[in-house]
Symmetry: C2
Subunit: 242 residues, 2 copies
């Protein structure tokens, strides 16, 4: 537990203001003059929100950031700017400049320490389930082991088919091209091992993107769609809310 975090006032400042915003960092971005919500958090970070397009701020500065206000020059005053906020991140040299024209609301609130989010039932233990239901690969398949180690990392599942031939399975929640590349590297390596070769590949996922499927099948890798709910059994539904 860090004492430093406790020493700070856990406050959030909410400002509704007509403002324009400029950001310079990895890219440049500009927000023309409009009324927005500015949220200043305890760690110096700043979020600029509009009244729609949830989740993502229009613009922001990530912590740790330093906040300062500077006086507008005469030209800016003439343009209607009353105050300029400068938010900078020393490490990345990112800079967020908020030109305030008019503050319509300004309040600060003590929030206290948040116990944090508890997630539940996310972790697709697809791997565990598929290992337990290895026959989903096809009749007569047997499990050799999960997390079969190779020189470049663990293959999710190594199995053998009815004829005793090795089968390497890569499991993803969403099957993307990256996953196919990953499995391809494993297969290339494993097929150099005379104890294993020939090794066939199975790309298993709850959802397989068409391009990934195309690439996989082009490389002789079989695609297997996994039905998570069916595999988990319909017994435990996450109806904790009702």
């Amino acid at each position: 537990m860090r004492l430093g975090a406790l020493a700070y006032a856990r406050r959030v400042r909410l400002v509704i203001a007509r403002c324009s915003v400029d950001y310079a960092g990895r890219l440049s971005a500009h927000l023309p003059l409009a009324t927005r919500l500015l949220m200043l958090k305890a760690d110096g970070s700043v979020l600029v929100h509009s009244d729609s397009l949830s989740y993502k701020p229009l613009n922001w500065m990530s912590p740790p950031a330093t906040f300062s206000t500077i006086d507008p020059d005469q030209e800016q005053v003439d343009a209607g700017v009353s105050e300029i906020w400068k938010v900078s991140q020393a490490k990345t040299a990112d800079l967020l400049v908020i030109s305030i024209h008019e503050i319509l609301h300004d309040s600060a609130h003590e929030l206290g320490i948040d116990p944090g989010l508890q997630k539940d039932g996310v972790e697709a233990d697809l791997q565990k389930l598929l290992a337990a239901q290895i026959e989903l690969l096809g009749d007569g398949h047997t499990l050799v082991r999960r997390e079969y180690m190779t020189a470049i990392g663990p293959v999710d599942i190594l199995a053998r088919d009815a004829d005793g031939a090795a089968v390497a399975v890569e499991i993803k929640r969403r099957g993307d091209i990256d996953g196919v590349e990953q499995l391809t590297r494993y297969l290339e390596l494993m097929n150099r091992d005379p104890h294993l070769a020939p090794v066939r590949g199975v790309f298993a996922a709850q959802e397989i993107k068409p391009q990934a499927r195309t690439l996989a099948e082009d490389r002789g890798i079989r695609c297997l769609l996994l039905d998570y709910d069916a595999m988990r059994g319909l017994d435990d539904s996450h109806s904790r809310l009702f």
Copy 2:
């Protein structure tokens, strides 16, 4: 059950409240009782923020969402709940339930329509600029087209060199190994097309990581560093911040 107090146009409502939050959708999640900022946007979406961990809300509901309040039952009243907010998304059946224990601040603000963010310096800009300045690939190069479609996706730029040979260009802001892999897949596919083959590859980026450069050159792919500022300078533009 009374319907949304939030059916107003272009407004954002800010509430500071002691509350607990439950979410059920792709996953289940729970936030224990604590003081948080609740942001209700005009489109019915809701964000639950703490005073740190910028950018991402602790919990949220994406638009389009419908908002309603329901009265707590006796058990909930005994537990200190004064009000329950229910935010649901019809399409996905996601549900966010906020159990309000105490409201410490409550204000609503008219924001108006936001003109939106103007971005500058992303991959699309690089692609446009390189297409316009195709001679950066070398003397005598000509543009065939941007976003040349293949079965596994569009190649950023297809050009021909002074001898009329095809050149496939993959453009990245930051060139790492993934980009080289991507270009390699395109090249492999395109080289099967007798109308195109042989196709040479060029990996163009503002910044190319050493590992990516090594891999690319090992595969006969030429690396090209792009100077965005210089390229933009040949075009017409201006820096806004200073």
